[in-house]
């Protein structure tokens, strides 16, 4: 490493920005260059499907730090800049404008891109995806009160956009492939209860459905389903998952498999190159395998962990994955591992929108999904970090204070 090493971070994402700031916070004195494709300074994406989409939050508030924060810390922002390829042998990145940037250590935090529809009519102009601030602006602009939006996909993006648009008096229909929305993310029971809340608010659902064609005269007006049904619409929003942004790594020798493969220290197979956030498929010490977490808090913590490891701290990254969602008056918090579970135990009341479902493998807690009950989530996080054994009867018993497990 040269006397004043240069650390380059590819991706002005949550992981990338937290890594850059952490390098400085931890006293790194070399150059820090943060490269971002978007022109906006790093911002938080979770409000894009919620408060920001509902026009209840100003743009500036989404910024992780104000502009001057970076210049004060000599973090060099290269925004609106695109990388063409990473060349590990030369320890260089070739930018799209032909410039070559040398690095002593590279952190790849390029995130994911929305998966695109591939149907007849997919290229019509009023079909939207949601990843960036501009995407959220476009959806808010298009979906005026009284208009009809069809959402393809019953995952978090689909369900949060459904709730936000419905609260703006948009007529909303969600079409999805599973029996209930969010089934894969939070389990069929929790998904069913959440779907019921949406229905009460006036959201229509087309479960176990798949779009076959989008039809219209110059714009999407009608969505045909494989079942033969069709749904009229003014706009279509697509939330069918995302794919890792690894196109600049082709031919680089950096190992990928559904993301960039890294160990618990955020290192790729190539010395001096790390990865963090959505794009990383990381080895988790607790579960003896690799996982891939596409949620905000993982991006934040993984970025911090990567920075510490770039500084040679050698601290394994071993989080209890956490995510949340806000839909209408329901706050959902999930803590746990994406592992097999054999039974689930419920606590609280679904009618009062205050309950938790705990997933167990034997008497070991695997995960908990908590509706309007963040304190249950807190206990769940602590139990999971201790790999604790729990008595299912006590989990169910509202008379028993869960803090008693700790």
């Amino acid at each position: 490493m040269s006397k004043t090493p240069t650390f380059v971070i590819l991706g002005s994402s949550t992981a990338g920005a937290f890594a850059a700031v952490t390098l400085r916070k931890e006293g790194f004195a070399g150059r820090v260059i943060l490269i971002g494709e978007e022109k906006e300074i790093p911002y938080a994406r979770p409000p894009l499907s919620k408060q920001y989409l509902q026009r209840e939050r100003e743009r500036e508030r989404l910024h992780l730090w104000p502009n001057e924060f970076y210049s004060e810390r000599k973090i060099e922002l290269r925004l609106g800049a695109r990388a063409r390829r990473v060349i590990p042998r030369e320890k260089e990145i070739e930018m799209e404008n032909g410039e070559r940037l040398r690095f002593d250590h590279l952190l790849i935090a390029t995130g994911m891109a929305p998966r695109r529809l591939a149907l007849p009519g997919s290229d019509l102009p009023n079909i939207f995806y949601l990843r960036t601030l501009e995407d959220s602006d476009r959806i808010a602009e298009a979906c005026q009160p009284g208009s009809r939006a069809v959402i393809i996909g019953g995952g978090f993006i689909g369900m949060e956009v459904a709730a936000s648009l419905r609260q703006k008096q948009v007529d909303v229909a969600v079409i999805h492939r599973d029996k209930v929305a969010l089934e894969r993310a939070i389990g069929i029971e929790a998904g069913r209860i959440l779907t019921e809340y949406h229905r009460q608010e006036g959201v229509n659902f087309y479960p176990e459905a798949e779009a076959s064609e989008i039809e219209g005269n110059g714009r999407a007006e009608r969505l045909h389903l494989r079942s033969g049904h069709s749904v009229e619409c003014d706009n279509v929003i697509v939330g069918i998952g995302a794919t890792p942004r690894i196109e600049t790594l082709e031919g680089s020798g950096i190992e990928t498999n559904n993301g960039i493969l890294v160990d618990e220290f955020c290192r790729t197979n190539i010395e001096g190159i790390s990865a963090a956030g959505d794009v990383a498929h990381f080895r988790h010490p607790r579960i003896h395998g690799r996982i891939h977490v596409e949620h905000w808090d993982n991006a934040r913590l993984h970025g911090i962990a990567a920075a510490n490891n770039m500084l040679g701290r050698h601290i394994p990254y071993s989080p209890v994955p956490f995510f949340w969602s806000d839909q209408f008056d329901v706050n959902i918090q999930y803590a746990g591992f994406p592992l097999e579970w054999s039974k689930s135990v419920h606590r609280g009341s679904t009618e009062e929108q205050s309950f938790s479902a705990f997933m167990l493998g034997g008497n070991k807690l695997v995960a908990g999904v908590c509706f309007n009950r963040w304190k249950d989530r807190r206990v769940c996080e602590k139990l999971l970090s201790q790999d604790a054994t729990v008595d299912p009867a006590k989990l169910r018993d509202e008379e028993f204070d869960l803090e008693g497990f700790l």
């Binding site: 979770p46 730090w65 949340w324 806000d326 706050n331 963040w374």
Partner: protein
């Protein structure tokens, strides 16, 4: 503005200054001031829990560092605004920059 004695019984208190709800906390030898309103859904932070330098929102469990406003646990994603505090005799004074 508040008195040091206001924080003797409970180390966290909401005060209203220039039309803003500010939370004042007493940690060790230090006093800190920050917006009382959680950046997630507006939960009243002074009614939450204070543990060391960490405040936890009573509504959804978001956590912040009271010294810097740094986020420590979502669901909030935006940092908390903090204000410099000056002690003059028995008075706690909060400095607004705008």
């Amino acid at each position: 503005m508040a008195k040091i004695s206001d924080l003797s019984a409970h180390p966290m208190k909401k005060v209203r200054v220039s039309g803003r709800d500010i939370a004042l906390v007493h940690v060790g030898e230090q006093y800190y001031a920050f917006d009382n309103t959680c950046t997630h859904k507006g939960g009243p932070l002074a009614k939450g829990e204070l543990s060391g330098e960490t405040v936890t929102c009573p509504w959804h469990g978001g956590m912040f560092d009271v010294r810097t406003g740094d986020l420590l646990h979502p669901p909030p994603v935006e940092r908390l605004r903090t204000y410099p505090v000056r002690i003059t005799g028995e008075d706690i004074e909060i400095e607004f920059t705008d």
